[in-house]
């Protein structure tokens, strides 16, 4: 790594983050730093706050106390700051959230034109480039409803990556897919990781975590309970809760 990269601020820096829904506290004093180029996998039982945590990073969820910095920029309630951060952060959702009234190509090209200010031709060319990377260029003129779940999710990844974000958030990207389609989406994510993209992935795909992650985080009841490199995390989990969870998802 070069010196410049060493001194650059981390991709995500979260300190003392607390969040409540009414009286229910969903995030307890979360501290987390994601380095540039790091591949982070977040797992945990449902309701543990893992989705909420990554959704606070691009301000899809608010929080009551603590601090979030994305690429060194402190997340405030200022509209321009929020938009700046959202332009640096790509996100992939469990339900794909493609725009059904636009074709696959338009799904990718419209944000490029509106947000990145590309011309129609530039936006189309760049969209086709990224659609090719997720191996779906031949579907460009179709509408999302005509595609399988796996294809839709790959388009969603292409749409986010085409914006050339500094980091990518994945919120359970394979949980809504039929089993035979999980692999095609994971393959695309692995390829993205191989290119050095900074990634924070909420997932139950432990195989993916083993293969790709630099670090695995286990959350329960709004707290980070345990974290470590995948090899140690899976072989010698420290806490009972982690062990119990791993037994459930690995069998």
């Amino acid at each position: 790594m070069s010196l410049a990269q060493d001194t650059a601020p981390p991709a995500i820096q979260i300190t003392g983050l607390n969040k409540w829904y009414g009286v229910l506290q969903v995030l307890h004093d979360v501290n987390l730093t994601v380095a540039r180029g790091e591949r982070l996998v977040i797992c945990g039982p449902s309701g543990s706050g893992k989705s909420t945590l990554i959704r606070t990073v691009n301000a899809l969820e608010g929080f009551q106390s603590g601090e979030i910095k994305v690429a060194g920029i402190r997340l405030t309630r200022d509209q321009s700051v929020v938009e700046d951060i959202r332009r640096r952060v790509g996100m992939v959702f469990q339900q794909f959230n493609l725009f059904p009234h636009l074709t696959v190509l338009e799904n990718c090209a419209l944000p490029l034109r509106l947000v990145r200010g590309l011309s129609a031709v530039e936006a189309r060319d760049r969209s086709m480039h990224f659609l090719s990377k997720v191996r779906i260029p031949e579907q460009a003129t179709k509408y999302p409803a005509q595609l399988s779940g796996g294809q839709q999710q790959r388009v969603a990844i292409a749409r986010a990556v085409a914006m050339q974000p500094e980091l990518m958030l994945f919120d359970e990207p394979t949980s809504a897919l039929d089993p035979e389609m999980v692999k095609e989406v994971l393959d695309v994510m692995v390829a993205l990781a191989d290119e050095g993209m900074t990634m924070a992935v909420v997932t139950h795909e432990m195989g993916f975590a083993r293969q790709v992650a630099d670090r695995v985080i286990f959350m329960d009841a709004g707290r980070i309970v345990e974290q470590g490199q995948p090899t140690t995390f899976f072989s010698t989990p420290k806490s009972d809760r982690t062990r119990a969870f791993l037994q459930q998802v690995l069998h």
């Binding site: 959202r86 996100m91 725009f99 944000p111 409803a145 005509q146 914006m163």
Partner: protein, 322 residues
Amino acid sequence: MHYKDNIDYPPMLTRPAVFVPLLVAVFAALCWFQAGDGALGRLVLGLVPGAEGNTLNLATAACVTALVGFNIFVVMRLPLRQQVWLVWAELAALILLFFYSFDLSFAFIQRKIGFLITQGLLTTLYISAVSIFIATLLALMGAIAKLSSNGIAQGIAHFYTSLFRGLPLLMQIYMIYLGLPQLGYVVDAVPTGIAALSLCYGAYMTEIFRAGIESIPKGQWEAARALGMRPVSVMTRIILPQSMRVIIPPTGNQFISMLKDSSLVSVVGVWELMYLARTQGQTEFRHIEMMVTASLIYWLMSIVLELAQKRIETHFNKAATR
């Protein structure tokens, strides 16, 4: 039906178990209402001279039933689209026959229809078109205000829809035309009509737009925002185009309804279609001629709007129907 059942049932009307009882019911109803007493009876007299009373009733009922039965028999043998068009045309012909039976003076209509169109129709179209435009803007603003987190905007929007949906349109016209001058602001008749129609229909359409926007799942907002799109872009490029599928059909209803409610503006003396239809007929006691003419003009305009609505619907449905 939009989602057709894949089983090919025999059409209801080709089954004798449906067809025969239907004809019996038609026959019984015609007898019960003594169809022979009226115009139908006079027509049948040509076939059965000298019949009267019950005989004429029975003969009339039999003739009409036979006609209905034969018609169904023929129509059922056509392809679907032709069935629809033929039935539509037959019903339209019946309505026109009904008007024709009024013994109208076509010379009078011919003399007046030019003025009815150049003055009346144009005014009606002008008032309706401007009102449709303003009402759409009001509805969009009202819906966004209702869905905003701004208490003042919400308060205004809620009061607005409550008041202008709650008061009769006629009352709103009077309030603007006769009420505002009390405060020293005199509004002319045509602006009064446009203001009242825009405010009233804007209030109804606010609710249509609100429901349309709310029908779009949260994930669409989140995806657009997560891509860094600005709020105006999110609304105009992502949410509204999808809402249109829900918004267009009831809005088409509103436009057609407004077209005809614009006739209420005649109470403040605007020379629109309905006003002229009433006044032009008065001088020569030819009320019915003018009313029928105006009605047909209204109907024609509604048909144009219907067709426009259909085209727009198809446009916004194209992603969903493929």
